[in-house]
Symmetry: C2
Subunit: 154 residues, 2 copies
């Protein structure tokens, strides 16, 4: 595991081990995690438009800012926003399957993969290499999809 991977693992472990603030209500957990993914999605959309689709002029500074935002989400300790009573069978306004807590090793794996690839996205964006950024965008997207396939209802 490289330095970035180790960092992600450490952050994720910290996130799962202890809440960063007084424990949020289930409703607030769900609202905050949906906001985080929505903010990330907006930033992924910018990278898609500029580095992948190419319909918008490539701006390296904007790509760096977008990748920084995505990495910041990945490193923000979102584990604190997933409590066992926040799954779709127990709470409203969420598509989180109970399997997320029934398969903790799998859940940890998808989280760590996302963190690792998001941090790599930040590194690649800093290089200004558009083709490499497009490839890494796909790598991040695969980790999003892996979690959705396992733990998000359609």
């Amino acid at each position: 595991m490289n330095k970035t991977g180790l960092l992600s693992a450490a952050l994720l472990t910290a996130a799962f081990a202890m809440p960063a603030a007084a424990q949020l209500s289930v409703e607030d957990q769900i609202e905050a995690r949906k906001a985080a993914y929505q903010f990330m999605s907006w930033n992924m959309g910018k990278i898609k438009a500029q580095a992948v689709d190419g319909g918008v002029e490539f701006n390296a500074d904007q790509m760096k800012a977008a990748a920084n935002a995505i990495a910041a989400v990945a490193n923000s300790g979102m584990g604190a926003l997933f409590s066992p009573d926040s799954t779709m069978d127990k709470a409203d306004d969420t598509r989180l399957k109970p399997e997320f807590f029934q398969q903790p090793e799998k859940a940890r794996e998808v989280g760590m993969n996302f963190g690792r690839e998001a941090n790599k996205l930040q590194e690649v964006a800093a290089s200004g290499d558009r083709a490499a950024l497009a490839r890494q965008f796909s790598a991040v997207g695969e980790t999003c999809k892996a979690c959705h396939d396992s733990f998000r209802a359609d």
Copy 2:
């Protein structure tokens, strides 16, 4: 203006000058900007709990991650999410006053102040100085309040 301030100004100018992606619908702009502020609010809450209120154990790594997230929001080019037809008199689910576009110099000033203080928050968090972080948390909060007072309906 220091280097951080210049960077913020440049990013804000870029954000207002050109969309980073194909122009979003008004509904998508409102959804994305609310998500960004909500994600930021969660991270501000962590800093408040650990550095200001002190009810939760201070964890320097978590504070760095939270401040990175707040700065990433500030630097993400949110100007692209504010179009003149996205104010509360023309669109749903927003409290943005039309004054935001009637007072463009004031709007730019509150945005630049927020960017500058959020970037300074990131620097202070990296130092691990809890008291300094508490002070800078207040400085960021003042810039949030300034914008709310001028441009957000109660």
